[in-house]
């Protein structure tokens, strides 16, 4: 295995695009190194992007924030601006692993690891986050966070491409977001179900717009349109929330595995979507 730690993103892209064999980008390393040690993957090349200064930055942009690919969960959690803007995204990212893991793990790594249970992804999806990708020759493109993961462990990134940053956009007035997950313990588990909700209210208090995303209930994070429509136009009365929960459960296509059953995930997806919607609603109302 070769280890490279370039100081610019152009160098990183260059090294990656010229490499043969199995390559991995190392940001926090909390997934990659575990996979290496367990023998799941034996990379020929690891490119550490933490020596690229810009990757560590959180910068304001058009009322939102651009978060560099090497920004750790702990660093994000300490940023009052991002926390105030998209608390659900920050909370979701902070749920990844322990304090120790937070010291290393990154939101971008969580996204690119492409686990269906990734905590930050439903929150990024509902926040409408935009992912900036750099490819060979410095070519840049931007895609919604929703389009990065294509299946378990699979992304839409091409050979030589690196995610440089994620733009968390400006948040409309009277809006709020929230993310909740279910785990058997209080910490240290992978989500059995995750639910992110972002919503915006009309001045009269009715819901103008909503997004509901679910994790760990399908091969990728699901954006559940019927669950969102169930609360649009309502004041999130019990009836509307019941409809949202039912729509969330109906959208699930989970598997039975060591972490949960189909029955359990389906039911709890509705429960969590409902609870997350209530928190997002409270936040939107200020």
């Amino acid at each position: 295995m070769r280890y490279e730690a370039p100081s610019t993103i152009d160098q990183a892209v260059e090294i990656l695009s010229q490499a043969d064999g199995i390559t991995r980008v190392l940001a926090g390393g909390t997934d990659v190194i575990v996979q290496m040690r367990s023998g799941m993957v034996e990379p020929d090349l690891v490119v550490d992007i933490k020596r690229i200064d810009a990757m560590h930055e959180i910068t304001p942009e058009d009322g939102g924030f651009r978060v560099g690919a090497a920004v750790s969960g702990a660093q994000l959690g300490e940023h009052d601006g991002v926390k105030a803007l998209w608390p659900g995204v920050v909370e979701a990212t902070e749920l990844i692993g322990s304090t120790q893991v937070q010291g290393r793990a990154t939101m971008v790594g969580n996204l690119c690891n492409a686990s269906p249970a990734a905590d930050s992804v439903p929150a990024l999806v509902t926040a409408g986050a935009i992912v900036s990708i750099v490819g060979p020759g410095g070519a840049r493109r931007e895609i919604p966070a929703y389009e990065v993961t294509t299946g378990p462990g699979k992304t839409s990134l091409e050979k030589g491409e690196i995610v440089e940053s994620i733009l968390l956009p400006a948040r409309p007035a009277r809006s709020g977001d929230a993310y909740l997950r279910f785990i058997p313990r209080t910490e240290m588990d992978i989500a059995v179900v995750g639910a992110g909700v972002a919503l915006t209210l009309h001045p009269d208090g009715t819901c103008a717009e909503a997004k509901v995303a679910l994790g760990a209930v399908a091969e990728v994070v699901l954006l559940v349109e019927p669950a969102a429509s169930a609360i649009v136009g309502t004041r999130l009365e019990d009836e509307a929330l019941d409809a949202l929960a039912a729509a969330a459960s109906a959208a699930c296509r989970p598997i039975d595995d060591k972490r949960g059953t189909i029955e359990f995930r389906t039911k709890v997806a509705g429960v969590l979507a409902r609870r997350a919607a209530v928190i997002a609603h409270d936040r939107a109302r200020g």
């Binding site: 190392l26 692993g97 322990s98 010291g103 910490e187």
Partner: protein
């Protein structure tokens, strides 16, 4: 596979080593530098026994490559006491019998120090969540949490 030359700082002292590209910082500390205070309990970041600080950030040394340590400032359990003076956390762990077998203790101490550096007056809940990545199988955590809270109280009073 050629080895990588790394210059770093460990517990305030300059250190240099050669390591394989896929070798973890934990393996380097234990097998190359003789700093066996950091323990491997899982090798997957789930137990915290290998906790160290890197540029004052708490991390699992099993989840970091040795090569990544270049130019960083590493803190391990071996650097917690100052000479013959134990850190207040170390004393309180002894006073409260906050260890039974003691294998998780270095990780807990490094993590608890990072907590108090970051939050000198934590609540019980904050202590419990901060330390959730450090597994202890012997104590049921009760005496560990008490020792950390008591240290915070003492350091605040000092």
């Amino acid at each position: 596979m050629s080895q990588i030359h790394v210059s770093t700082t460990i517990n305030g002292d300059p250190a240099e080593f050669l390591c394989e590209p896929d070798e973890t910082l934990l393996d380097v500390l234990r097998d190359r530098l003789g700093l066996t205070g950091s323990k491997e309990g899982c090798g997957s970041g789930d137990c915290g026994a290998c906790s160290v600080t890197v540029d004052d950030r708490l991390v699992c040394s099993c989840l970091m490559l040795g090569a990544e340590a270049d130019g960083r400032d590493i803190g391990t359990i071996e650097g917690l006491a100052e000479g013959e003076h134990l850190h207040p956390l170390q004393r309180k762990f002894l006073d409260h019998a906050a260890l039974q077998c003691g294998v998780c203790t270095p990780g807990f101490l490094v993590a608890a120090k990072a907590l108090l550096d970051h939050n000198p007056d934590p609540s019980e809940t904050e202590v419990r969540y901060w330390l959730a990545g450090n597994l202890c199988r012997c104590t049921g955590y009760d005496k560990i949490v008490r020792a950390v809270l008591d240290t915070a109280a003492e350091m605040k009073g000092a």
